[in-house]
């Protein structure tokens, strides 16, 4: 299914139109109204059904208090290294009871794995070697009944079928909406033709009336030689052509909306939006240097050593093609030289060659730390709503007018700031009340040599 990002956005917006907003359309197009309202109702019913199902599921399993204790104990003691269905620092635990040849040995392993290894028990020694001799924590004081509860919890969780994240969510697809620009274009064209026809009719009627009254008719001038029409058409072409020529010329060397394809489909929406990772986690250089650094592969691997699959909502490229998030993580592993299940050797990593989007000409000096750390400017002010971008595009045109405009409007923290103590006149004016705030422009933010030197 190919849907452009724009249409997708419209779709989302379309779903959120409350029924009330639609009511004026009831009279205009009852069919459209009914189908849309039904769709909204259907969706809310589906939502409720899903909720009820999830609730039943929850109640069903939470009734097993045994398993519930196990969950707490598991989370407290095991979860930092083990998951049920996934290898982490330690192996996945689903089916652990079946794997161990002797249940008694499993219990003594959990309590003191080092003692079991020393005793030379073959399964334990194999396991220890297979996991690169990673030592498991000792749980000598964990009573048998707690281990029972944990194992019970693992059994219940391990037997659950894995949820397929790629399964489409039921709820129906909202009818596609046509692009309005085309509609308006056609309407304009029709109106223009109607106006033209009416003008012709008017001329013909005038001619008829003139004939009747005996006024001699002048030779009619054909449309293509009518000076008024020619002048009008020239004017329109000149205006439109001139507009696009000027806009194109201004846009030369600027690259607003530039949205290159990156080597890995890295979604800022997923990382900075859904998962709330601070911009400065990866781009920490923005607060201490001229450049907002591109994170090296080890920063990605901080999380992606454990996160090896993508389970969130479907991802689409700007062209509307669906992206498999898990495959994109695999691409990262290739750059990192990481093989799942083995310890990562960071020296094997190769840098990812990301495509630079925001470029300033060399004759402009721009310093990130000056804006981020001193000026406390939000990243989004210049980079747009990054937390909503799957693929990043250049939000601002980065023109000089754009810079200057912000410098004129942005107020600096002037009071109680030792850095600005030399501006005696402004301090005086602030005291007298002739000036209520100091902008960046006031302290030289529009001087040429501030940015060009």
């Amino acid at each position: 299914m190919k849907i452009s990002a724009k249409k997708k956005l419209k779709r989302v917006m379309f779903c959120q139109i409350p029924v009330i907003l639609l009511s004026p359309f009831k009279d205009i197009s009852p069919h459209l109204y009914n189908s849309t309202v039904n769709m909204i109702h259907l969706r809310s019913i589906m939502g409720k059904l899903t909720f009820i199902a999830a609730f039943c599921f929850f109640v069903l399993f939470s009734n097993q208090s045994f398993s519930q204790d196990g969950k707490a104990l598991f989370s407290q003691n095991c979860a930092s290294c083990h998951a049920i269905n996934k290898d982490l620092t330690g192996p996945a635990l689903a089916g652990v009871e079946d794997r161990w040849p002797d249940k008694k040995m499993l219990y003594s392993w959990i309590k003191n794995n080092q003692a079991v290894i020393k005793s030379g028990y073959p399964y334990a020694v194999d396991l220890y070697n297979k996991w690169n001799k990673t030592q498991m924590n000792l749980f000598t004081s964990l009573p048998d009944k707690d281990i029972d509860a944990i194992l019970g919890y693992i059994k219940v969780e391990g037997s659950k079928p894995a949820v397929d994240p790629n399964k489409p969510v039921p709820g129906g697809v909202v009818a596609e909406e046509g692009d309005n620009t085309l509609l308006f274009g056609i309407l304009t064209l029709i109106l223009a033709i109607v106006a033209f026809v009416l003008l012709q009719v008017n001329a013909n009627l005038k001619k008829l009336a003139d004939d009747k009254e005996g006024i001699p008719a002048t030779e009619p001038v054909p449309v293509w030689r009518n000076k008024v029409y020619i002048m009008f058409a020239t004017l329109v072409l000149f205006t439109i052509g001139g507009y696009y020529t000027v806009m194109g010329a201004i846009g030369l060397g600027r690259s607003q909306d530039y949205q290159p394809e990156q080597p890995i489909f890295y979604s800022h929406k997923v990382h900075a939006g859904t998962n709330q990772i601070s911009c400065l986690y990866c781009h920490g250089g923005a607060q201490e240097s001229k450049h907002a650094n591109i994170p090296s592969v080890n920063v990605c691997m901080n999380c992606h050593m454990a996160i090896n699959e993508y389970k969130g909502e479907a991802l689409y490229t700007a062209e509307g093609e669906e992206v498999n998030g898990t495959n994109e993580i695999k691409k990262l592993y290739k750059y990192a030289g990481y093989e799942e299940g083995k310890p990562w050797d960071a020296t094997k990593a190769k840098p990812v060659e990301w495509v630079k989007i925001h470029s300033l000409p060399d004759h402009v000096y721009f310093n990130h730390s000056q804006h981020v750390a001193v000026g406390k400017v939000q990243c989004q002010t210049c980079h747009g709503e990054i937390t909503k971008m799957n693929e990043v595009y250049q939000f601002a045109d980065l023109s000089m007018g754009w810079c200057i405009n912000c410098h004129r409007e942005t107020k600096v923290q002037f009071a109680d700031n030792g850095f600005y103590s030399i501006y005696e006149k402004y301090h005086e004016d602030m005291k007298n009340g002739t000036m209520d705030s100091v902008t960046v422009a006031n302290i030289g933010g529009t001087e040429c040599q501030k940015c060009h030197y």
């Binding site: 846009g251 060397g253 690259s255 601070s278 999380c303 000409p361």
Partner: protein, 211 residues
């Protein structure tokens, strides 16, 4: 007219940066950050330094910046060994207790770098874990509320930040030495606060800084 056709011909996704007219002083003659070095002139491998200019962007091993904390004396344990991790317990935090202002800065650094996993409340339940509903499968350490971490000496925490531990990666590239020790101070202060004691905040002239 040509412009009109050219513009209407484009799709709405702009994959190319567009053209530039007479790029006067637009591109840097000097090597800029992240710009590719000419491989016929430069090399990043030391054993090729005879015929090319050797440059690998790293400072000489053992370089210490002015005012920087001294490096951690222990190296990373080999796989299966925990000797240095155990030894790290004996290394004390070289920084004096934090002033109120430093504590605020440390909190900011903690929230940026650690909070996503260990949680804003230090309970090991950050937005990436979310009680097991987040994308991160392993439960991050509960720095507050778990006796193991409350009793963990500063040096051992530093070892984990510097080299990583279990699934946690190394934060050596994201935090400098000073910041790492400060964050440990912050964690210890929060742990003390949770236990009911007052946070060991130094009271000196810096705490009365104008806000």
């Amino acid at each position: 007219m040509v412009n009109v056709i050219a513009i209407s011909g484009c799709s709405d996704v702009k994959r190319e940066p567009g053209s530039i007219y007479m790029p006067d002083m637009a591109y840097s003659r000097a090597y800029e950050t992240y710009s590719e070095r000419d491989s016929t002139i430069f090399t990043s491998e030391e054993n090729h330094s005879d015929d090319k200019i050797f440059y690998n962007t790293l400072p000489v091993t053992g370089t210490i910046a002015r005012g920087e904390e001294l490096p951690f004396p222990l190296t990373k344990d080999a796989a299966g060994d925990t000797a240095n991790y155990a030894a790290s317990k004996l290394i004390a935090n070289p920084l004096p207790p934090l002033t109120a202002e430093e504590l605020k800065e440390s909190e900011r650094l903690y929230l940026i770098n650690c909070g996503i996993c260990h949680g804003a409340k230090l309970n090991g339940n950050g937005p990436l874990y979310k009680d097991g509903n987040g994308p991160y499968a392993a439960k991050p350490a509960a720095l507050v509320g778990d006796a193991k971490y409350e009793n963990m000496p500063d040096g051992q925490m530093y070892y984990s930040i510097l080299y990583g531990k279990n699934l946690m990666g190394s934060y050596a590239s994201q935090l400098n030495r000073d910041q790492r020790w400060k964050i440990i101070h912050y964690i210890k202060a929060k742990q003390a606060e949770a236990k009911g004691g007052s946070a060991p905040v130094a009271v000196d002239s810096a705490t009365v800084v104008k806000k």
